[in-house]
Amino acid sequence: MTDDRRGPAGTAIAPDAAIDRALRALPPPRAPRTLLPRVMAAVARERARPWYSRAWLAWPRRWQAASIAALAVPGAGAVWLSPYANGGADRLVALAAAASPRLDAVWAGADVVATVVHAIWSAVLGPVAAVGFVAAVLVALGGGACWTTINHLAFDAGKGTSR
């Protein structure tokens, strides 16, 4: 612990031994009698909650491991299957169409809808979307700047006096 007891602007502080001694001599505060039952009641409520509604760190170990695996398996599968993905969808559609003529008709209909949507997007929505995206980003940045300024003025600037 530093023993640099200097005041603001580098002025030397007279050793305030009496205050320091008095503070050190204070007995440690004791917890009120109400604290223990209160904590144990909260613990009982916590134990009554199902494990999945608690914090992840409080889950049973096997469920923690299972959740990690559940997240890891699809990711690993996607990485492993990505080389086969090209053309896979077409082969899947061809297989489905061979299995059922009705699926072939559905696929043809979906193809037409996709073509129409693409045409509308290219002709009408695409140019507007670019402008809209830029406008949305600007609005978000402006809002963020306003909130940061208000937060700073209202809360951070008041720390020195309100704390």
């Binding site: 603001p8 007995p27 505060p29 004791r30 917890a31 109400t34 223990l36 916590e46 209202a154 309100s162």
Partner: protein, 179 residues
């Protein structure tokens, strides 16, 4: 002995440490109880790991201090801003009454000393948050000025100023401590 029994014994052992740290930093008994409960719930979540750890006292003290600082910066500042209350320490619930009541059980010949300690506790609790927190971290947590500045996210000069002003306020409040 069940886990709950073990945890109850654990709370009994460390409740004074946790509550004492919280009430000194926050200056209000009700808020200190809230923070203490949160600390023990966190301990309960990790009881398998920390229950028998030799460094559990340090862990509890660190978590308590961090939660108190978080409470002061995140909640109380906003509360004061919106309600435009009087400076911290004025009102706001019972302040250390239970602690002082415990001290009142001292022998008769120590009554005067106990009274002065009670006045000092009250004066400490009535300090503005910035001054009290800096003083408590310096005196009771053995933190250096640099560590306090880093923990509070303020400049070293502000920490020195707050401690200087806090001591001056305690001197004014007591008047007769320089025996």
């Amino acid at each position: 002995m069940t886990d709950v029994d073990r945890f109850e014994a654990f709370v009994r052992e460390f409740q004074d440490l946790v509550y004492g740290t919280a009430v000194r930093l926050l200056g209000r008994a009700a808020e200190a109880e809230d923070v203490s409960q949160t600390v023990f719930l966190r301990a309960f979540e990790r009881f398998d790991q920390i229950g028998t750890s030799p460094s559990v006292a340090g862990w509890l003290k660190t978590v308590t201090t961090n939660l108190c600082l978080n409470h002061l910066t995140r909640y109380r500042a906003r509360w004061q801003f919106f309600s435009e209350l009087a400076p911290a320490g004025a009102g706001g619930g019972r302040a250390l009454d239970e602690t002082l009541a415990a001290a009142a059980a001292s022998p008769v010949e120590q009554i005067d000393r106990t009274r002065r300690q009670a006045r000092l506790e009250q004066a400490l609790a009535a300090l503005p948050d910035a001054q009290r927190v800096a003083l408590v971290l310096f005196h009771f947590e053995a933190r250096s000025y640099q560590q306090i500045a880093a923990a509070l996210g303020v400049s070293l000069a502000k920490v020195k100023t707050d401690i200087y002003r806090g001591r001056a306020a305690l001197r004014r409040a007591l008047g007769d401590v320089d025996d």
